[in-house]
């Protein structure tokens, strides 16, 4: 009771005291700002304002103010007296997060009195949130998380905002304990793109992250497949079939899977190749498993196109592959114990159980067979791993197989030797001695060795042969001797080789080799070689073998011949090139440029007649390359018929002949003066010759000519482009008449004389007549001529036109330019007859002679 009274009195005292102190503690001033939040590293200024009442009471003003931070006086250098009542303090580069700032005055010269105090909170504005990502756990709502950036030291609020193109969703405010993630409160809507971003805000600012726009179905983390089960196959012991139930998300999206498995006792997982499980499925058969082995499986899934997240792993499920026949026979051995029965012995066969990976199942029993020499097989089924049997002292063959549900293993074979085995060994015979240690728990590893009771020299020597023979070396090879003829261990071989006249050389070769290369041999030499094999007891020679080294090494001949041929070719080419480049010089020295009268022709010009080079129709008509030499063929025909293609062919043929004959006629001095007398043929060479002989005298002959059966209204001028000096006789009408006569009567004596006279002026051998030389150079034989003639007649007969005949005439005359006189006579006569029959006016008849002539167009 007393205690209660004391407590009440105390409480009343405190109450009243507090009331009075409230008035007493009315501050003398205040600080602005009241509760500042300042960015770290920035400047801050606080102002303390004294109240008038207090200033009067304590007789102080702003000069009396001093500042303290966390009870430490601030140097006066940071103060600024604003006026009588206000003083400020400035902080630069604030680094403390929480500062207690007080404004104080010194009263009565010695008493420090606190006027006001504030708390300065420092921090940083929020950084832009980064790495915003969202996940939709199947069956749950979307959760987004982000990296908030640096520490702000202030209370910072993160708000996750989301919207569709047509709709805004409610903000998702983070919780205090998970400020970097937020789970929205609406169910995700698949196949609708949503835009999401984060806003971070504190007292110093607000920032927004980058917006991300996605389809929530691409952020799904599916639930793992469930009800995973494993079943095996009796048909195949290496497979297990997994089945499972997919999560309901598969109604919206395709799934792909990871399937992992391991044996029960293994710790690492193997994985099915992902490409095999890249689409929605409900089962999968795993192959290449070991028989009768327990495997553990697990599975997970994700969206088929790889967008989104893998589900968690499913619960593990296990299964055992079906049995397979034992993959290996059990190894076994025997123990022989003496038997009480005479002639018999007790043999105990012992074997070990197969390990699981070889048994491939549960071993049901073992099958043992015993076979005595040439007797029947006896089968026994044993459930144990040992079996004792009484057998005779004969030699036996025992086999053992293990059997499981699927089948039997291969048989292991063991020979039980006869009781009286003495080892009747023969000399120089190779024996394989095998020793198998038998321990308490089974046989150890077997060791074998070859042995001879006594060695002897081989009964046959090795047969050597050549594998490859070179100029200075030969590779010899041989086969190892059969065991039957070795008679001992072959220690080494010796190769003996010699020439017919030389000494024999011996080379020792290790017994492990079957090949040896003889070097430093002489080329093109016969060698004899033989070989001996040696055991510890001696050697035996094999048959002798001969071979001859070649004279040249492989490729040596080619190495000589090819460069020589190349050099020869190169020299020839250089020579040809040199001749080609210097052909003008060579020609000048060997064949001076002598004008060739045979190249002369009658050029034609008429004011109303198209220039010769304008006869395009003809050029086109004879466009064949073979006609390059004959560009214009002036033909006077009775009608306007065009030549048939066959005609052109015949012309082509003749043209070829002409080329050949002209080639022969192009000798010194141009022996074919006669060719210029054919008035109806002009050659394209003429133009060239005219150009080549520029500077030489141009001959002009003015002739009368009609064009296409028309009587020329004007005079037609033809011109000789021969480089031969102008002859007086040509300008005389009587001489021209003589030329005309030649056309109609070859063999005419004056004509011959005329041409002889002309040609002789440029002939190097003026005493040889033109016709004689023509005969010499002409290569046209009679057969060719007859054949051509026949062709012409064949072609012309069906048509029978004068034009055709004219073609024949022209062609033949052209082809046999430098011909014999008789030939010319015969063909030209035919041509003239044709012209007369058709009533054509003769063209190119000289009408007028004008000095100077005309330049050919």
């Amino acid at each position: 009771m007393l205690t209660l009274k004391i407590w009440i009195v105390q409480a009343l005292f405190i109450f009243f005291t507090t009331e009075s102190v409230g008035e007493l503690l009315d501050p003398c001033g205040y600080i602005k700002p009241e509760s500042p939040i300042v960015q770290l590293g920035s400047n801050f200024t606080a102002v303390c304002v004294l109240k008038e009442k207090c200033m009067d009471y304590f007789h102080v003003n702003a000069n009396y103010i001093f500042w303290k931070t966390n009870h430490v006086t601030i140097p006066k250098e940071q103060y600024t007296i604003i006026n009588k009542t206000a003083s400020s303090v400035t902080f630069t580069d604030i680094s403390l997060l929480n500062i207690q700032l007080t404004c104080n005055i010194r009263t009565f010269g010695q008493i420090d009195q606190n006027v006001y105090g504030i708390r300065i909170i420092s921090g940083l504005p929020p950084e832009k949130p980064t790495n915003l990502s969202c996940i939709v756990n199947e069956g749950k709502k979307m959760m987004c998380q982000w990296d908030p950036g640096r520490e702000t030291y202030l209370e910072t609020n993160f708000t996750l905002k989301s919207e569709w193109a047509t709709e805004k969703f409610a903000d998702c405010k983070t919780k205090r304990d998970t400020p970097t993630s937020c789970t929205v409160d609406y169910s995700p809507v698949y196949f609708v793109n949503i835009e999401v971003w984060v806003e971070a805000e504190n007292a110093l600012g607000k920032v927004t992250s980058d917006h991300i726009n996605f389809d929530p179905v691409d952020k799904v983390k599916p639930s793992p497949p469930h009800n995973l089960s494993v079943s095996n196959s009796e048909e195949l012991s290496s497979i297990l079939k997994l089945t499972w139930i997919n999560s309901s998300i598969q109604g919206f999206i395709g799934l792909k899977y990871n399937i992992q498995y391991r044996t029960r006792d293994a710790s690492t997982w193997s994985q099915i190749p992902p490409e095999d499980t890249a689409s929605t499925r409900y089962s999968f058969t795993v192959q290449d498993l070991k028989p009768f082995t327990e495997y553990v499986f697990r599975i997970r899934c994700m969206k088929e196109d790889g967008k989104g997240f893998w589900s968690d792993w499913s619960e593990e499920a296990s299964g055992i592959t079906y049995e397979d026949r034992p993959s290996k026979a059990p190894s076994f051995w025997y123990k022989i114990e003496p038997s009480h029965t005479h002639g018999y012995r007790s043999v105990q066969l012992i074997w070990k159980t197969l390990p699981p990976f070889e048994a491939n199942g549960k071993i049901l029993d073992y099958e043992v067979t015993l076979t005595r020499w040439k007797s029947r097989l006896q089968n026994y089924t044993v459930n144990d791993t040992k079996w004792t049997v009484n057998i005779t002292n004969d030699r036996y063959i025992a086999t053992l197989t293990a059997r499981n549900l699927v089948g039997k293993s291969n048989a292991a074979v063991l020979t039980i030797p006869a009781y009286d085995f003495q080892g009747n060994l023969a000399e120089s015979k190779c024996y394989l001695i095998t020793v198998t240690p038998v321990y308490a728990d089974g046989p150890g590893s077997t060791e074998s060795i070859k042995a001879y009771l006594k060695q002897a020299p081989p009964s046959k020597g090795p047969t050597v042969r050549t594998k490859k023979v070179g100029k200075n070396e030969a590779v010899l090879e041989w086969d190892q001797l059969p065991v039957d003829v070795q008679n001992g261990f072959i220690r080494n071989y010796t190769i003996f080789y010699r020439t017919i006249i030389g000494n024999e050389t011996a080379v020792n070769v290790d017994s492990s080799h079957t090949e040896y290369t003889l070097s430093s041999l002489t080329s093109d030499t016969l060698y004899m070689v033989r070989m001996a094999a040696y055991t510890d007891e001696g050697g035996k020679d094999g048959p002798e073998f001969t071979f001859t080294t070649p004279k040249f090494a492989q490729g040596e001949i080619e190495a000589i011949v090819v460069p020589v041929c190349l050099a020869f070719l190169l020299t020839t080419l250089l020579g040809v090139l040199f001749c080609f480049n210097k052909r003008d010089l060579i020609k000048k020295h060997i064949w001076p440029n002598v004008p060739d009268p045979s190249k002369s022709h009658i050029a034609q010009w008429s004011p109303h007649t198209p220039p010769r080079h304008n006869f395009n129709s003809k050029d086109q008509m004879y466009s064949d390359g073979n006609f390059t030499d004959v560009s214009v063929v002036e033909i006077e025909a009775a009608n306007d018929k065009k030549p048939f293609p066959e005609d052109l062919k015949s012309l082509d043929l003749f043209k070829k002949e002409k080329i050949s004959t002209e080639g022969h006629s192009s000798g010194i001095g141009g022996s074919s003066c006669m060719s210029s007398s054919r008035p109806s043929i002009s050659s394209s060479d003429e133009n060239e010759s005219a150009q080549n002989t520029s500077g030489t005298v141009q001959y002009s002959t003015v002739v009368h000519s009609g064009y296409r059966h028309q009587v020329p209204s004007v005079q037609v001028f033809s011109r000789s482009e021969s480089t031969q000096p102008l002859l007086d006789s040509e300008e005389r009408p009587e001489d021209l008449q003589l030329v005309d006569n030649i056309d109609s009567s070859v063999g005419n004596l004056p004509r011959q004389q005329y041409f002889k006279q002309n040609c002789s002026q440029h002939e190097t051998s003026p005493d040889i007549s033109h016709f004689e030389r023509s005969k010499q150079v002409s290569s046209v034989n009679e057969e060719d001529f007859v054949r051509l003639k026949q062709q012409i007649s064949d072609i012309s007969q069906p048509y029978g036109s004068g034009q055709m005949k004219m073609f024949q005439e022209i062609s033949v005359a052209d082809a046999f330019g430098p011909r014999t006189e008789g030939q010319v006579e015969r063909f030209e006569t035919v041509g003239m007859e044709a012209a007369i029959d058709e009533g054509m006016p003769k063209s190119y008849l000289p009408q007028t002679v004008r000095r100077g002539g005309y330049m050919p167009q």
Partner: protein, 247 residues
């Protein structure tokens, strides 16, 4: 000539800008095939009765005594598949948007008859899905060529009234709701088929030219737009898309 063209295109441009600016929120995908695929998948999903009708039948006790037999679509409640296929793309989208808006209103009315909170939550999910579908329709409308054209009529669906007549008793109201939802699923199946045809024409046009399919759709739209004077004008109200998402 140019001035005439300007006068023709200017109103369309202004209307188009207005249309585009109204939902000034998240951006639409500008990938036509992706958006078409989303619409297809949504329609395929929403056609299944287990997303809504089964829930309603179960919650209303209509799954007993052969009552299901009476739950058949009332003819004319929703546009038929043929009618939808005849529409131009733009009009089809508008029809779809309008019809789904009416479905949302009807679902809000049906909500009152669903007592279980769990079923209500599912129904909210369905409504959100429909709103998402409408969002994609809006985005698709923007992608179609000549998205500014807003003069085409939307065929009215007389039977898709927001709520049945109030004179019906409870059972009849439930049966009517069931029929309505039956029609809704059938309608969504038809919509999926139309979108599938769009996809086929897209893949065909891809084989020929990249934008041919879109242009073809635009041509169809323009052709059907020739009758605009004969039909009353109906315009989409994008503002109706706004609203708080359901939980």
């Amino acid at each position: 000539m140019q001035a005439q063209l300007l006068w023709r295109t200017l109103p369309s441009l202004v209307l188009g800008l207005l249309f585009l600016s109204m939902p000034a929120m998240g951006s639409c995908s500008d990938k036509y095939p992706e958006l078409l695929g989303q619409l297809q998948k949504q329609a395929d999903f929403m056609q299944h009765t287990n997303t809504l009708l089964d829930l309603y039948i179960r919650s209303q006790g209509l799954d007993k005594n052969g009552l299901k037999e009476h739950c058949r679509e009332r003819p004319g409640a929703f546009p038929s598949k043929d009618a939808l296929q005849r529409l131009s793309r733009r009009v089809f989208l508008r029809t779809l948007d309008t019809t789904l808006g009416q479905v949302l209103l009807r679902l809000a009315a049906l909500e009152q008859d669903i007592p279980k909170a769990q079923d209500l939550e599912m129904l909210s999910g369905v409504k959100l899905n429909i709103r998402g579908f409408k969002n994609n329709i809006h985005c698709m409308a923007q992608l179609l060529p000549g998205s500014s054209e807003t003069t085409e009529p939307t065929p009215t669906s007389p039977g898709a009234s927001p709520s049945p007549t109030p004179t019906l008793d409870t059972f009849q109201r439930r049966l009517e709701g069931c029929r309505f939802l039956h029609g809704y699923h059938r309608f969504m199946r038809s919509v999926g088929q139309v979108f599938r045809e769009w996809g086929k024409s897209l893949s065909r046009s891809r084989r020929h030219s990249p934008h041919q399919g879109l242009l073809k759709g635009a041509r169809r739209m323009q052709l059907s737009g020739r009758n605009k004077r004969l039909m009353p004008r109906v315009q989409l109200a994008p503002g109706s898309h706004r609203g708080a998402p359901g939980g």
